[in-house]
Structures are given as C-alpha cells and as structure tokens.
Amino acid sequence: MTLSLRSFLAAHEAETLRLAEPVSVVHAVTALQHALDAAGRFPVICIDKPLLADGRPAALPLVTNLGASRDLTARVLGFPSHREAARHYAAAAHAGAGAGIEPVIVAPESAPVRAIVAAGAAADLTILPALVQHALDPGPYLTAAHATTVDPESGIDNTAIQRCWIKGPRLMSWFPYPASHNMRNLRKYWAKGEACPVAFWIGHHPAVLMGAQAKLGYPESHWRSAGSLAKAPVRLVPSLTFGERLMVPADAEIVIEGAAPPGRLEADGPFGEYTSYSGPQVAAPVVEVAAVTRRRDAVYHDIGSGLADALVADNIVNEGKLYAAVKRLAPSLVNVHVPVSGRRFHAYLQLDRPAPGEARDAVQAALADRRTKAVFAFDADIDIFDERHVLWAVATRVQWARDSWVVAGLSGSSLDPSWGPGQRTTSKIGVDATLPPAAARDAPPPTPPVIRVPDLARAEALSLLSGKDMSKWPSA
C-alpha cells in the first residue's frame, strides 16, 4: 500500500475526533486543540465541514493534531515505544551520507496530487481551509506547508515546514527562518537577480512528514530520510511549473507552486510560535503562485503552532539529531528527550555509567545545537520522560557551582522571548545531574542509597489498592 495521509487516517479512525458539524477556521479549531492539550488528550482531529472566515464552506475537509501524541507518532513510525524515539529516529535518518531510501519518480498521470490542476488565474489559495490560529495572527496561514527549494549550485533539494500567510488567491508571504537552508537557497537565487522557485506540499503520511523534517547538512536532500522513516521510497513527480528541476511528492494532498521574486519583502505575522508566544511581524519574501494541484478529494492538513501538535513531532526529530551527534562523542549516551515543556530549548540526556568527564562532553555537544538552551545529563536510573523524576535528580544530584556552567555567545533563536535588545547570540546552561562514579564498576555510587521498599512489599501494596475507587481521593 502506498503511504499517504488518507492511508494513515483510515488506519487510525479509533484515535480520531471527527466533527461532522461546521467549525470555523478562525480560532475555533485551534481552541479545540488548546482544550485537548490542557486535558492531556491527543486525538487526531478531522473537521469535515470547515467554515471559512467569511462563513462560506471550505472546498476541502481539514485534519490537524496528527503529531500531538508521542505514543501514536512512535507507533506510526514503527518504533517499539516513544521512549526509544531518539535512537530509532537517529538510525533511520542520520545513518550517514548515502543512507536512506532513494525516491522514485512517477509520471504526472500516475500522481494522485495531479488529479486536479489549477494553473495561472485558475489557482486560488482562498478555497483552502487555512486556519487563523491565534489572536494577533493577521490572517489565514499555511502551517503544514513543506517548502521545497533547490540549491541552484548543486541542484540538491531541501525541504522544511515554513509558514505562509495567504494574502490573496495567488499571493502569500513565506517565512523561511534566516538560518534555514531554504533561505540559503533563496539568497543564492536573489544574488543572481532571479526568482526562487518553490513548491509547498501539504498532507502526507506522518512517516514521510517526519522523515522530511530530518535536520540534515547543507545541501542534502530530505527525500532519502523521508523514505527511510516511511520504509518505502517516496514517490516524486516533476512539478507542473518547474518540471524535474523541482520535484514534489506524488502522494501529497495538495501542492502549491510558485516563485519568490528577488528582493520583494512584505510584512508577515505576528504569528503564534513554537515558544507559545506570538512572534513579531517580520519582513518576509512573498510567493507569486503559479499553480495549485491536488487530489480529487484532497484533505487539508494544519499543524497547531505552539501546541503539542507541532512540538511533539518536531522534538522527536530533534531527539534523533541530538542522539546521533552526541553518541559519536559520548558512547555512554542511551537516550534523549526534548520535552514539550521546554519547547525546543531543553534537552535531557541519559547516560549509562559515563566515564569521568563524559557527561560534560555530552552536554557540551548538545549545547552546540542551535535549538538547545539548557541541557541536562542524567543517569540511567532517572526516567527522563517523567519531569517529577527529572527535577528530583536536579534537586539532589547537583551542586550548582560545581555541576552547572553557562556559555554565552552561542547561536540561538531570535524568537526566544527572553532575548534583550540588540541580542544576536544566546547564553546557554549545561547541568551535570549524574551521580559521581563508583570506585569500582559494580560497586554502588559514593552517595546515599535512594529510598525504596522491597519488591514483595510493593506488590502487596498494589494488591491492597487493586479495585479501590480512587476517583474521590484528593489528587493534589
């Protein structure tokens, strides 16, 4: 079976909240995601009848919250558990140059995304149920648009999720973050006085989406990592506008093709960001749309920015990147968690009996990643997916003067709300929350033992509680 968004939805109907009643694209869908996040529930959300801002029914149904659940995401990727996502993602996407699964090319007549073609004046972005997610967002945004550009020197493609504000039927702003590889490609075209060709593809199987988001070197195609995560080659089709110069996934739901004219910048934003703050209005390139192609019964995909929907999937991708980078330097690394609570900024590293100095090596390596801002090293007995356990280790295994260190002047994100005026780099902290090494490999660590009850007593306690109605007992 060819992987696609619809093959995923068909397989996960039981984990889907499907609403048949009309729901507005203005704030209402995102409010639903906020409510579900607060309740700790992460279903896929399908809106059969989205209503556009002017009250008209949208031409397409809407799906969102695909990436909100770590558990579902890990299962979809074929990982044994979300707790092992870092290692498995690293093995699939960061196995080295030439690894992964080569994409295959299909003819346009065999590409589902080419079923309906609207080119030139027939192209109309305003029929899409693009959401106005948060207060201060100025209009409808594409939030799950995978922007694919090509390095004009090497011809190698790059793909990243980048927001677009729909400003008219054939015009939208596009915000490739300044440090992104797409921005690097765009600048090369603009330096030659040429418009930058770009295709935005929306809606695919989550395994393809997760693989396409792999944090790779430059220039390095993402199709192989997408195939690796999907365990099958990604089917590509030449774009309608640019042909084989710019390939797009044949099994996507929607493809928007166009070009960013050189030097043309317009206001974009404010926009609710991954930090869960609203990012400022910025000057961004615009895209003049040449064509919109889609499946016959296309489904529009949105990603809830600043919510679990965006953060969980994105953080798993970064866990894989950090695991691959740190493991090379610190072989005792066994796991990585980038928790939603820290947005992209925090990373928890788990090490199994690190050699003297190795925990600091690991932390230093992870701090070099542009996204991290605080990196913590823990022993293997700490559950790095339980923040109560994480904070207990920080409270009891850290002497701040000895075990933490601040490094200033590193690259970071200007979207970090804590930045001061004129700031261009960030300060970061490393924390070694591991125990001191034991005198001998099998000896206990030279610290007090953790309290525990014998296994038999624990089993008896659980037996006493079995069947008791706990719902009326105080929970806080």
């Binding site: 100025p138 934003g269 404010p270 609203s278 910025v282 001061g420």
Partner: protein, 61 residues
C-alpha cells in the same frame, strides 16, 4: 545622547510595539520593520498597511 549603561543582571525586553494609525491597535514588530526604508507594516487588527514613520506610536524597549 549617550546610551544608558545597563548594569549586568538587569532585565530588558526586546519587543517593539507599534500602534496602528488607523485602528489604534497595538502589535509587535521585528526591528527590521521599523528601520528606515523597511517594507510597510500591516496591522493585524484592521489590515491597514503603513510605513513605520506613519505609526501612531512606536514603543521601543
């Protein structure tokens, strides 16, 4: 005017707020959008486009 010396440890924000000359709504903008020759700002409240020097107010940190 000489810049005020910022003591180490003193917190300062970086957000620049702009007031729309049309609807008087406030929104935040990056420094490059309130610089000379910047692209026109666009009010997210009323969609009015205006140059930074037409803003009703700009509150810089």
């Amino acid at each position: 005017m000489a810049e005020r010396l910022i003591p180490p440890g003193e917190k300062r924000g970086a957000t620049i707020w702009v007031r729309c000359p049309g609807c008087a709504g406030w929104f935040h903008a990056a420094p490059e959008l309130v610089a000379p020759d910047a692209p026109r700002l666009c009010c997210p409240h009323c969609r009015r486009e205006f140059a930074a020097d037409e803003a009703a107010a700009i509150a810089r940190p």
